[in-house]
Amino acid sequence: MPDALVADLRAALAPERVLAEPLELTLYARDAGIIEGHAHVVCFPLTTGEVQACVRIARAHGRPFTPRGSGTGLAGGAVPVEDPVVIVTTKMDRILEVDEEDRVAWVEPGVLNLDLTHSVAHLGLHYAPDPSSQQSCTVGGNVATNSGGPHCLLYGVTSAHVLAIEVVLADGSVALLGGVDAEPAGYDLRGAFVGSEGTMGIATRIAVRLTPTPPAVRTLLLDFLSVEGAAATVTGIIAAGIVPAALEMMDAEITRAVEDFVHAGFPRDAAAVLLVEVDGLPAGVEAAAQVVADVGRVHGARSTRVAADEAERALLWKGRKSAFGAIARIAPNYYLHDAVVPRTRLVEVLSRVYEIAARHRLVMMNVFHAGDGNLHPLIVFDRRENGVMERVTAAGEEIITACVEAGGVLSGEHGIGLEKRDYMPLIFGEADLDAQARLRHAFDPDGVANPTKVLPAGSRCGDLQRVPEGAWI
């Protein structure tokens, strides 16, 4: 029997941009995480008007909608729940305007993060947020999750780089949030929308700030015989008044895996390495690099390697950013966690995390944004092994609890999605969740934009929410 919803979407867009075959739909059942849902239909609009049409048609047929970019998210934000219309923005991939003087670019949501940076490089500019998936993730997806990346330590996460957003709201209307002037009037709707994981509408045009490429850069690799020494160096660098552009840590397991994969000259016998980058004007950069090396030495750095040129710098970063490619050689599956703790608690939390993994007989690696306390414990496993998923899930829950007990939060850059939704009460009380539900309600009174994400059921005081169906971890 022909599906009227699919037929209406095909009429409004074009038949080839509306997918409804079961095999096609399975490709959109997941993001890069491990949670699976089910899409009723998947559509690929090209314009703001087509996004409006998708939303209105979904609503006319009583369906919710789920926005999606490249699907590189890990928290289940783009996983379709309640048989929604999945609206994929990857075909809206034009860079609409680059204003060199104002250092602003207007882009469509499907533009890839790294493509944007490449397209403005000749102007001496770049787009600062640089998630590890930057070759394949979209700017629209970055807006939805308020993405971070190594260089967000100095430059700030996505919200600091988004000036204005054209949004299709849950009723199909269009609103412009924020502006390219310094102080747009009204509440900071732009700020409220960034990180809302598709629950407040769909971004269809985004104005981003472009950042000048620094005149001087120093990239250092420090090598430690203890994780404690590396962590103490992180704290010491910040305490010395240096905010590096990036400050990344890799533990022994991941360092070995990466070295075997990219042959960048990472020390295979190190307990931990720090990849530190300082940038800015030449004298300040030299002085900061010296402080970094000195602090490292005080805390037992065995060696400090300074990248001699851009090629060596690129190689060191390739090592860091290929971590997830490298682990594929060790085990077929991984579960990447994301939590933030106060930087001064890194050592303590890391030792708890290792202890949790050992107790659950799991292989654990750590490669993370140490400078802002953003941990990424990585459990590698083979899901064909009997009972392993239960151990992975149990360990994950303990890791999150340990981070929260140390004064941390649930997510630094991946978002809450479905994965961490039910952990929200660990850090927020009833009144706190109610306030977030009110914000969501102002944007989407009927709860049709990416339903069941971020906020646990019953967040709204005195409100009955449907219990989500059709999703499983």
């Binding site: 609103a175 900071d188 910040i238 004298a283 944004h369 004064g407 997510s411 306030a435 914000l439």
Partner: protein, 300 residues
């Protein structure tokens, strides 16, 4: 780190004082008291608690009462060579500056005020203490209510306690001035902290390593001066940075940012109808009876 019980007690007392009924206005240093319109006559006034609750320099974050003055906070942070990127208007409080949401003249280098707030505890229209955000420098756990509160003029909730991102105090900080092309400087210098322009004279704030500051000053060919010019206080306008080129009359403009300070009052900026409706709905969700800072509006 310390704090805990004493602070929680002060927050609870503040929440009780705000209560759940009747119009109430939160007062800071009254430095921007007219922004968004006058509070209705007869409105009961409350003040948020003051004082630093927790400060760990190696974390580069500080937790303090919203009633703390920015000057007091900067003085305490200064002992550890840190500061916050909030404008230290004479007598201004941390909560007041955040509620108004206007950045100071160092915004070009330090970023906007809205990026400074990491966690907020505020009293809702129902008189409940609510937490938004979290105490660490990177956080995407839930919706970003902190950004919504900054610049909300106390119309969605009254700030009680906040956690702020700190920044290192630069090694040197020097002002220069001359008849220079401010737009050229903006393009040629790397991340200056401030460029101000009155149509004739350009003031330039350079900060960082002494050798870098000296080199950038030499490039700019401007003599050192004591500080920035006085800013006209009658009005404030926000434009796209490149639109500053076309300015005429008397003004001081923040080049690269797009803020214009004028002697005469400025009309409120326009918003699209869709955004106006969202503003209205948000206000209704958070303060349906309109009891928080009645008379003031972010759309005025």
């Amino acid at each position: 780190m310390s704090g805990g019980a004493i602070n929680d007690g002060a927050l609870a007392t503040f929440a009780e004082e705000v209560g759940a009924d009747g119009p109430v206005a939160c007062v800071g240093g009254r430095t921007q008291w007219s922004v968004g319109g006058a509070v209705e006559a007869g409105t009961r006034e409350v003040r948020a608690p003051a004082g630093i609750a927790e400060y760990e320099p190696a974390e580069m974050v500080v937790r303090c009462g919203a009633g703390t003055t920015v000057a007091d906070l900067d003085a305490a942070l200064g002992e550890k060579s840190q500061c916050v990127a909030l404008p230290a208007w004479d007598g201004a409080t941390v909560g007041g500056v955040l509620a108004v949401g206007r950045s100071g003249i160092r915004r070009l280098g330090y970023g906007p005020v809205r990026d400074t707030l990491l966690e907020a505890r505020y009293v809702s229209a129902e008189g409940r203490l609510v937490k938004a955000g979290g105490p660490v420098v990177k956080n995407v756990s839930g919706f970003d209510l902190c950004r919504l509160l900054v610049g909300s003029l106390g119309t969605l909730g009254l700030l009680a306690q906040v956690v702020l991102r700190c920044r290192p105090v630069p090694a040197v900080s020097r002002w220069f001035a001359g008849e220079l092309d401010p737009f050229e400087l903006r393009l040629r210098l790397h991340r200056p902290t401030s460029i101000l322009w009155d149509g004739t004279t350009t003031w330039l704030l350079l900060e960082g390593h002494p050798d870098d500051v000296a080199a950038q000053a030499a490039f700019a060919r401007a003599p050192e001066v004591d500080g920035p010019p006085p800013l006209p206080t009658g009005g404030r306008r926000s434009v796209r940075p490149s639109e500053l080129r076309a300015l005429t009359g008397r003004f001081v403009a923040e080049v690269g940012v797009g803020i214009v300070h004028t002697a005469e009052a400025q009309p409120p900026a326009a918003l699209s109808p869709g955004a106006v409706e969202l503003n209205r709905r948000i206000k209704h969700e958070f303060d349906p009876s309109g009891r928080l800072n009645p008379g003031r509006s972010v759309l005025a």
